[in-house]
Amino acid sequence: MLEVENLSVAYGAVQALKGVSLRAETGSITAVLGANGAGKTTLLRAISGLVSTQTGTVRFGSRTLTGMPVERIVQSGVGHVPEGGLVITELTVAENLELGAAWRYGRRERARHLNEVYDLFPALKERSSQHASSLSGGERQMLAIGRAVVSHPSLLLLDEPSLGLAPIITANLMAVLLELTRQEDLTVLLVEQNARSALSIANWAVVINLGTVVVSDRAETVAADSDLRHHYLGF
């Protein structure tokens, strides 16, 4: 269970989050939706410690994450797929994955966990020794996700994983996420511009507008509310 309470973040004079609170149940997917600049990325970055918070706490399970350095948060089982993926282009596909697994697994175990990722994303297997700079946008996105799940996190933060992907690939991706969540008792926060596809797999939805939570409800309820959809989600 992830509990975010009264989280505020500012970049200089820009108040990006104003007292955001939300909960995400273990084994569920929570879609985090909202317009450009709403504060979705900032929320994820605050949870994984990449930006410092003014007020509020983030608890995951029995741990308080607030104030911990990023790498310790990651090592408490938080996987973060940042906006744009940020694969390390100077390293090969396999090296990117190795790095994701290295804090948790010894050399011998890593090979097995890398293979799990290759099963999820066969395209990566064929390119395992290629530099990540040679991957297509969709392949990079797969690598970014593979790199985060290879260490079997218990909380997965995904920032627009479908960015720039063809609809069919997005659908595949969503299916993979659903499968991972079911298999691994994973808690997922899924930030998406593509609200429709996010709502199709999410259990819960949180809509953020100008740094505050405006709606927090079951995904079906949000998807069914046409006023809300028109107003905040544009479909």
Binding site: I88, E90, A102
Partner: protein
Amino acid sequence: MRLFVNITLGGVAEGLIFSSVALGLVLIFRATNIINFAQGAMAMLTTFIAFSVLGKGVGYWPAFLVALACGLLLGGVVQLTLVRPVQNKPPLNAVIVTFGLLIFLEGIAGAIWGNTNRGFPAAFSQKGLVVGKTAVAFSHFDIFIVVAVLALSILVGVLFRFTTVGLRMRAAAFAPEAARLLGVRVGRLLTLGWALAAVAGALAGLLVAPTSVFSPGYMDLILVYAFTAAVLGGLDSPLGALVGGVITGLALAYVGGYLGGSLQPIGALVLLIVVLMIRPEGIFSQPTARRV
């Protein structure tokens, strides 16, 4: 012909010394985007420590190891105390800090050991080898230089290419934020990077000292040449540092041998300008990795 061979051999040995200083500059630059102007002065300090240890009569090799160990420690301490506070500040801050450290270390060394020119012993004979019946300008000590610098380069190469620590160091250098999101303790690796760089420097200090006058400023000119070598190699490529050092050493040897030793610093400058004009990213730099 004999002159040419001798000059070439001397150039290679001299160049490999530049390589080891350049390797230190590159390790630091690619990890922290900082040019360490104190790289030579730090090497000078560890070599003077070895000099004092030698004075206690412990023999060359223990003193050699003491210098390398002090380098490891000094590099780590410098990073933790001086460099970390300026790490994410404007680049000029780091320039001032490392340049200040250069002046500070040379001042300290002058105060402790005096500014007189001394001699530093060599590990092996510096007399030219005899091949057939002719003596060449390449000594046992020069062979030691080649072996030591190549061994260090191979060690660094293996560390980066084949170990998990090396993988983490590369990730931390190329993409610190992405690396942190993968559980890499970037801060620690930067300290380790400085420590390794200072070991490379300490080795260079020990290799240069017997071939020149030994005083607190004896690494100054070497740093200039090593910087030339590092830029030649692309500033972020360890292999580039190695090759860049040899090219610089050869170029300076030919200038010195055929045109006169006093022209060498100008030769280095010309080389630097030519490289910056023809291939500003250096010979071995991966363009995607370059951030300046």
